[in-house]
Amino acid sequence: MGKQVDIKLLESIVGKDNVSNNPAIRYVYGTDASVHQSMPDVVVQPRTIEHVQEIMRYANAELIPVIPRGAGSGMSGHTVPIDGGIILDMKRMNRILEIRPEDMYCRVEPGVVDDDLNRALKPYGMFYPPSPASSRIATIGGEIGNNASGIRSVKYGATRDYVLGMKLVLANGYLVNLGATTRVEAAGYQIHRLIVGSEGTLGIIVEATMKFIPLPKLRCLGMATFDRIEYAGDAIADIITTGAEPSMLELMDHIAIKAVNTTLNMGLPDVEAIVLFEADGKVKEAVDYEMQTMKSICEKHHGEVKAMSYDAQERTRIYAGRKKLFAALSRYKEGLACTALADDMAVPYSKMAECAKKIHEVAEKYGVIMTAYGHCGAGVMHTKILMDPTKKEQWEAAKHAVEEIYNYVHSVGGITSGEHGIAISKAPSWKKARKDLLPVMRTIKRALDPNNILNPHKLMDAPEDWLTATPLRYWVKA
């Protein structure tokens, strides 16, 4: 813990209205979409790069932790300040500074919301593709910090593939321009790429240069149902390995299906698995070819294709259940809450179905409910643990379930996190699997942040037990 934060000094930097140490504000900023909770000492809303620089100079001199925060929608505890300190709420730095359609890039402040950027790009016939499901509120800064990806990453890649450069304020307040505005750069360390996914531990992103691409003229979305999840897994692996080019390839298991049917009255077919498959492009014949290929593969694996449409409204209808799944899982059963644990592992395509079955098996063993869904075309399998969060024994069960699932994932060559990041709750499993990497990462961290003030106790420095790393944000009763 650093020294007591000088509120007056922070007010002199950013103005009185942009600083708060009110207990209610600190309490709210002490949580995100993860299971963790820990209050900051103060929340600051900088408006300019100079504000950020001055705050960092002060915090570095006084050894005060600084945690940058976008929408606070992270599921692993990225912005939960274990040691208190300063939360830098970057949402007020939200200007789109420049859109250059002729050069296919834009410059944005970190607080720009993903959907707002895409709305601004649309008139140019362009889009920024790696949008996560939370694109309506997720900020570009947060997405870079977490290397976010989403439903179309199977075709278009993740955030890291779109970051050309950035302005970064280092721990000591030094402002550095990283990367370029051109598509290629061969000039030393690609430090901007290192910052992508660094979870706020290496610097504060104060501006980003992002590339964008033309919007596809056509999109076609299909839905196939499967009586057994193994068939769905086989179909997904087959679609990828036969060279089809889906722009979306999503899996939903029977728990996910029940959740959206119960909450949203979606009327999805009562089957063991659903696969959503989409193709996009400029020419209808090409899109048709992709769709027919994927349809045939689904049918070959005993799938029944229930819908296929180019119509925007119909596509929205087909996708509606998947879009709202995360929150809908909270309504799966009265008294159970949807907790963000073991939520985004990635496994080889050939292990997709096996992974889903393993998740269900582990859930049953430990008396919790776990779903299996996700961007399987990109190898990402999402789960959520549905449990009674007020019961201590459920948390112990969840801890064992998480550990066992990750042991399986690592045993088949999978990874801990495909898109939600490590932060606190996934750190124990990740650290266990990537022991060789940790000293290297710590060396980089020390080089850029010698006083360890930037989002400390995350990633490689996170506590060994996520369950006791911070108080839980749920009211757990004896």
């Binding site: 708060s20 009110n22 207990p23 209610a24 504000i25 309490y27 709210v28 900023y29 949580t31 995100d32 979409a33 929340v43 809303q45 929408a71 606070g72 929608s73 709420d89 949402k91 007020r92 959907d115 939370s134 309506r136 509120i137 909450t263 949203l264 709202k324 799944l325 995360f326 929150a327 809908a328 909270s330 309504r331 009265e334 008294g335 809450a337 949807c338 963000a340 969060p389 007020t390 944000r473 749920y474 009211w475």
Partner: protein, 350 residues
């Protein structure tokens, strides 16, 4: 603080996954910009009060009351977490703990003394017809408008029965005076001539449908839409924009009906950037007009500016509170007129 009402919402608060999707449309968050001002922020605050991790303070109370109950958060939430209901429960616990705003107390005392929110002796335009009509406080006070709206009903073949009504009780519920609400509801029920009636006010109809499940009211717009094709109407040839009231669009799902009526009377609707169930709030609900008028007006100004940017002469709505809040801002700028849709219907039937 003794927690009585919030206890019932513990499971609902655990249902909230804190995804922050409610940031997108929250009118208060858009104005004030701190997460504590968002629906999620308020859910976290109520959780803190429930668990005892957060002490109630004047600041917390202010934040709990700085919500227009627009229900945009619930609409955008896949799990449909009922934030306004949770806030109403929190307000009730805060009131029980002695956190009482003088302005709220004054408003509720007016209702108790006179039966309406204005604290005036208002005489309803009594009619001895067949179908009971509930005007609602705001239209009761606007007696000339109420007369015209009753004429609309007569012209479409309804014989209105106007009675000595009192406030539906919404302010008691929304401001957290649950015990007083129960007593008031009994009095409201006594005055009603029948369980089936037509309601002129969007807020009343929403509150009655939610809080008096035994009653079977119809909203005036449903009746007009059903009967308007059977009467001669003048096509008005106007171009307006329509602002969806929260209680009507998100609360009762009535999005198509007003637009159908406008089409029937020859009014072209130029849509606002957000409409229907995603329409932005005017800022007038949830007691915000009483609790924080400045904030309510800032929200209204944002909405009105969207309408002005459309280049239309008139913003039409149905809720008398939206009409009041947006209308007050409009009068200061003199760039757009705010009218009730019922006024256009009356004009078309004249």
């Amino acid at each position: 603080m003794d927690i009585q009402y919030l206890k019932a919402w513990e499971a609902e608060l655990n249902t909230c996954i804190r995804c922050a999707y409610c940031f997108e449309g929250c009118p208060v968050f858009k104005q004030l910009g701190w997460e504590v001002d968002s629906a999620r922020g308020k859910a976290v605050l109520t959780y803190g009060l429930l668990t005892g991790e957060l002490e109630p303070s004047d600041y917390v109370v202010r934040k709990i009351y700085e919500c227009s109950f627009c229900k945009d958060c619930t609409e955008r939430c896949s799990a449909n977490v009922a934030i306004p209901d949770i806030l109403a429960a929190a307000r009730a616990d805060l009131v029980s703990a002695g956190f009482v705003y003088d302005e709220h107390r004054e408003l509720l005392d007016k209702i108790k003394q006179t039966g309406n929110i204005f604290g005036k002796e208002l005489t309803p335009p009594i009619r001895e017809g067949e179908t009971p009509i509930l005007l609602g406080c705001r239209f009761l006070e606007r007696s000339e408008d109420a007369q015209r709206y009753l004429e609309i009903l007569e012209k479409i073949g309804i014989k209105p029965k106007v009675f000595d009504e009192i406030c539906c009780g919404m302010p008691f519920g929304v401001l957290g005076y649950k015990d007083e609400l129960i007593h008031h509801q009994q009095e409201f029920r006594k005055r009603l001539p029948a369980d089936e009636f037509i309601c002129l006010c969007t807020t009343c109809i929403f509150f009655i449908k939610k809080s008096y499940p035994e009653l079977n009211p119809k909203y005036v717009i449903e009746v007009i839409r059903e009967r308007l094709p059977n009467v001669n109407v003048k096509k008005l040839g106007l171009k307006v924009t329509y602002h969806d009231p929260c209680n009507l669009a998100r609360g009762l799902g009535m999005v198509k009906e007003p637009r159908d009526i406008l089409r029937m009377i020859g009014v072209e609707v130029v849509e606002l950037p957000t409409k229907g169930k995603e329409a932005e709030c005017c800022g007038g609900g949830g007691g915000l007009l009483v609790t924080n008028l400045e904030l309510a007006e800032k929200i209204a100004e944002r909405r009105l500016n969207e309408a002005i940017a459309l280049g239309v002469d008139m913003l039409v709505t149905l809720c008398p509170t939206c009409e009041l809040n947006l209308g007050n801002i409009a009068k200061r700028g003199d760039k757009i007129e705010v009218k009730n849709l019922l006024d256009l219907v009356w004009q078309a039937l004249k």
